[in-house]
Symmetry: C2
Subunit: 142 residues, 2 copies
């Protein structure tokens, strides 16, 4: 797609958490919290080593069955005039190596110091990369 | 389903915003921010009169095509040891009248004073009601 509007890029890049929705082949959605970085063309997220439930890789299985995903990045405030969201409808791919994988790891380590010391590495791991198709945005007042 | 664990109920009831994922008949997910109240058996959410984009009722069309939904309610903290989420996999229905609709409106007005004066009323409107099937929960430390 063409470049995102600058204000959308800034909003996406500065937010700390999004939520990623996938759906399996039977149409059952799954939405999960989603730490991500923006690599200039796509959102990248590590399937990281935070202690996880056994079933937590369902998101990866879903993407392999059906790459269509949705991500929401929003700002909530009790003053609803400040509400804002950006929704990205896109296609996800699973990466385990390569240039985009390595660059994504660097971006995630830079954005989230929490990942340092958790074993996040260019050498191994699983990454979800979401290339935007349609981008929707909304602000209360707009 | 059987009653939710008390700590899950409390977490769900106290959070101010969840995110709702639906999927259309072609398997395209859509995730949106989701103000909701817990009515003791289900999550209720108004399709309210906040100024919306024209396409914003896509969530309602999706539910009519495919009632399978997913809701995440999470707590983010830069101290990742405090991360927590609850994910509800369930079935949604669209209500426009009836006992559950009226009770849901009352709960939403009670939880969100912002709705007062916005025209939210027992007399008309559209509500999404999500009955939990499977409930997943995760805490970093657990």
């Amino acid at each position: 797609m063409s470049a995102l509007p600058a204000d959308v890029c800034e909003f996406i890049a500065s937010a700390r958490l999004g939520r990623l929705a996938t759906a399996d082949g039977a149409g059952q959605p799954l939405v999960v919290p989603f730490c991500y970085a923006w690599d200039g063309e796509a959102l990248v997220s590590a399937v990281d080593d935070k202690p996880k439930r056994a079933g937590d890789l369902k998101r990866v299985r879903n993407i392999r069955e059906n790459p269509k995903v949705s991500v929401v990045i929003d700002h909530y405030d009790e003053d609803w005039r400040r509400l804002r969201w950006v929704i990205i409808q896109g296609l996800a791919e699973i990466l385990t190596a390569g240039r985009d994988f390595a660059a994504g790891i660097d971006l995630l380590l830079s954005k989230y110091p929490q990942y340092r010391g958790m074993g996040l590495s260019r050498d191994k791991g699983t990454m979800i990369r979401v290339r935007p198709g349609k981008v929707l945005q909304w602000r209360y007042a707009s």
